[in-house]
Amino acid sequence: MNQVNSKVCVVGDFAVGKTSTVERFVNNHFSDKYLTTIGVKVDTAEVDLTQDLKLKLILWDIAGTTEFKHVEMAYLRGMSGYILVADGTRLTTISAARELKTQIEATHGELPFVFLLNKSDLQHAWEVSDRQREKLVNEFSSELFVTSAKTGDHVAGAIARLAELIAERELFGPQ
């Protein structure tokens, strides 16, 4: 079976659930304890694209930030796509995700990405209103996923979608 390597960065504000999302996807595990990421955590996972082709995702879980500094910009180097993560219980994390996306597009051009609105298991504490959610759907359309790293809801689906987008780009070039 052929294997293609692909670097994917996971970005977003602090404590939105980036590490938990990767941990859920890679090890199917979740911990309630919040542990701040310093620098970057690198892990790998494989996604089967076809019977003969799989994508090895090298996942760069980058420390939470609202704006990339010089060091974090270095972490982004060579990525094929990225995962934007925001926390539904904190509205400010959505603006942070938008800001990071703008920065990425300014330095790396348009790359495949998915937008994860995380912590769907805490709906009762959500700050995102139905109207704001509607707006996000219009903004990110099929790249928006409402996820829960805690329950695993839509995490695998979101990353599989990103793998598809990356494969399409690798095979057919930027659309």
């Binding site: 542990l35 701040t36 310093i38 620098g39 970057v40 892990d43 060091v71 180097r77 904190r90």
Partner: protein
């Protein structure tokens, strides 16, 4: 300064001990060419020349370029946290890994505290926002409650006023009944005075019944329980009934009462005649009530499958503001003459509701001093013959002559009613058996096989409904007539030949008996 060899050596050993340096030499395709240093400190046990370094250090993918790159904290599942230096050198790359676990942990502690504080602030901010929202909701809820309380108080005051008014309305005919009954009972009362008293009692009783019916009707309408019951009825008979009820009231006041029925009105119509009757009694009753001179007339016409009825009066008329107010329950026009007139104040409200129920249209055309014209338009279908399931047939004129020799079983626990029935039934030539509860009725019916049973529903020991069921189950097949003060439609029609609402006028009862014995 040149460092002495032992100092350089010391520094080197300190650095190596704390940072475990490891250096790879790789080509552009990540093939490991050579290495030096503490590979085992990072879990790299089986390094092989020519093998891909990505299996051990996947973080190098995408990172090779023309410039030196330094990645301060790179954590991998097996190698802990390292500081990575990538140095391009003659189309190859030196990759230096330095252990950064200690620095990482210090940084993490500091950052963890800072982030947790930020989260705490965010939570506090959310709580404050939520608190503000809750306070807002609380204020709104309180305002809503206050509003509802005021509405309830208003409604309560209206109802209290209504009850006070109704109490007065009930007292008037009741005191007539009591006084005339006393008069009739006096030993020296002449036959003429006795008859006059009886007539007064009958009139007051009918008025009382009308009041009760009006209030019950409104209660059912308000509760949304009233449903249309359409059936065939004779239009002329309906108008005759209305004349029987209302013409004497007009005559008492010395005003004219006239009914005009156009030729094109179908003789028999299919609609809810009970509703229609109630509407017309209200309209005509009101018209008579407020008219002191002149008269009241009703015109009945037919057009486009609709019955068109106009009730005209030469009364004082109603101004526009009062017409608006009149459409609210328990409110009557605030005119001095309106307040001086008896009535529940519900008549027009009921009329409007019933007209809506019949999918008709009601209109009021009036000006003060010009009388009043109430127009009604209700859809109806021409029909061939009146329905048989008549539960509120108008009382036909019945001669109280001897009618037959059939035996009738009366089941009722009201001694006055038994006496009354005894008088009328025996006078009409019927044999009478009396049972004072349901069980006795079943026993006597099975023992004597009467030709017809008059069954009160609310009887002691065994209800009339249960008694009828038992009789039917025992094979009793003669007519059983239910007499009830509650809704006749709630009774099981398989057990009863017909159901009649109490109070029943005796001529009407005799007509029913005769019809079912035929």
């Amino acid at each position: 300064m040149n460092l002495p060899d032992e100092i350089s050596s010391y520094l080197k050993s300190v650095f190596e001990e704390s940072r475990n340096p490891l250096c790879f030499l790789i080509d552009r395709d990540f093939a490991l060419l050579d290495w030096w240093g503490f590979s085992e400190a990072y879990g790299y046990k089986n390094l092989q020349s020519g093998a891909s370094i990505l299996d051990h250090a996947p973080f190098l993918f995408g990172m090779l370029g023309s410039k030196t790159e330094v990645l301060p904290f790179v954590t991998t599942p097996t190698g802990g946290t390292v500081e990575v230096h990538i140095l391009p050198h003659k189309r190859r790359f030196f990759v230096i890994l330095l252990s950064a676990t200690r620095d990482h942990d210090t940084h993490q502690q500091r950052q963890q505290t800072a982030n947790e504080l930020k989260l705490l602030h965010a939570t506090q901010r959310q709580l404050i926002t939520r608190q503000r929202t809750l306070i807002g909701e609380l204020v709104e809820a309180k305002a809503e409650l206050d509003h509802r309380r005021r509405e309830a108080e208003r409604s309560n005051a209206n109802k209290n006023q209504f009850i006070a008014m109704m109490t007065h309305e009930f007292r008037t005919p009741l005191s007539s009944i009591i006084n005339y009954a006393d008069l009739a009972l006096e030993a020296d009362t002449s036959e003429a005075d006795g008859r006059k008293s009886s007539e007064a009692i009958a009139r007051a009783s009918r008025h009382l019944l009308n009041l009760v019916e009006t209030v019950l009707h409104e209660a059912r309408l308000e509760a949304g329980h009233l449903k249309l019951r359409e059936r065939s009825f004779n239009v002329q008979e309906l108008l005759d009934d209305l004349s029987t009820i209302l013409a004497p009231l007009a005559a008492e006041k010395g005003i004219a009462y006239a009914t005009y029925l156009e030729d094109n009105v179908p003789a028999v119509l299919y609609a809810d005649d009970v509703c229609l009757r109630q509407i017309l009694i209200n309209l005509l009753g009101n018209a008579i009530k407020f008219t002191e001179t002149g008269g009241v007339s009703m015109e009945v016409a037919w057009s486009d499958s609709q019955l068109l009825i106009a009730v005209n009066d030469s009364g004082p008329g109603i101004d526009l503001a009062d017409q608006e107010r009149i459409f609210g329950a328990y409110q009557r026009a605030e005119r001095a003459d309106a307040l001086s007139q008896p009535g529940s104040g519900l008549g027009l409200t009921i009329t409007i509701e019933l007209t809506r129920l019949m999918q008709g249209h009601f209109d009021l055309d009036s000006e003060p001093g010009r009388g009043c014209k109430a127009s009604l338009r209700v859809p109806a279908k021409p029909s061939s013959m009146p329905s048989e399931d008549d539960v509120v047939l108008p009382a036909p004129a019945v001669e109280l002559d001897a009618e037959g020799t059939a035996t009738i079983l009366l089941c009722d626990d009201d001694e006055d009613l038994i006496d009354l029935a005894e008088y009328y039934l025996q006078r009409a030539g019927y044999g009478l058996l009396v049972a004072r509860d349901g069980e006795e009725a079943v026993e006597k019916a099975l023992q004597y096989s009467p030709d017809l049973i008059l069954m009160d529903i609310n009887t002691p020991r065994l209800s009339g409904a249960d008694a009828a069921r038992q009789l039917r189950e025992a094979g009793f097949s003669a007519p059983v007539v239910a007499l009830t003060a509650s809704d006749v439609r709630k009774l099981d029609q398989r057990d009863f030949t017909v159901s009649l609402r109490k109070p029943i006028q005796m001529p009407r009862l005799l007509a029913e008996i005769r019809r079912h014995l035929r």
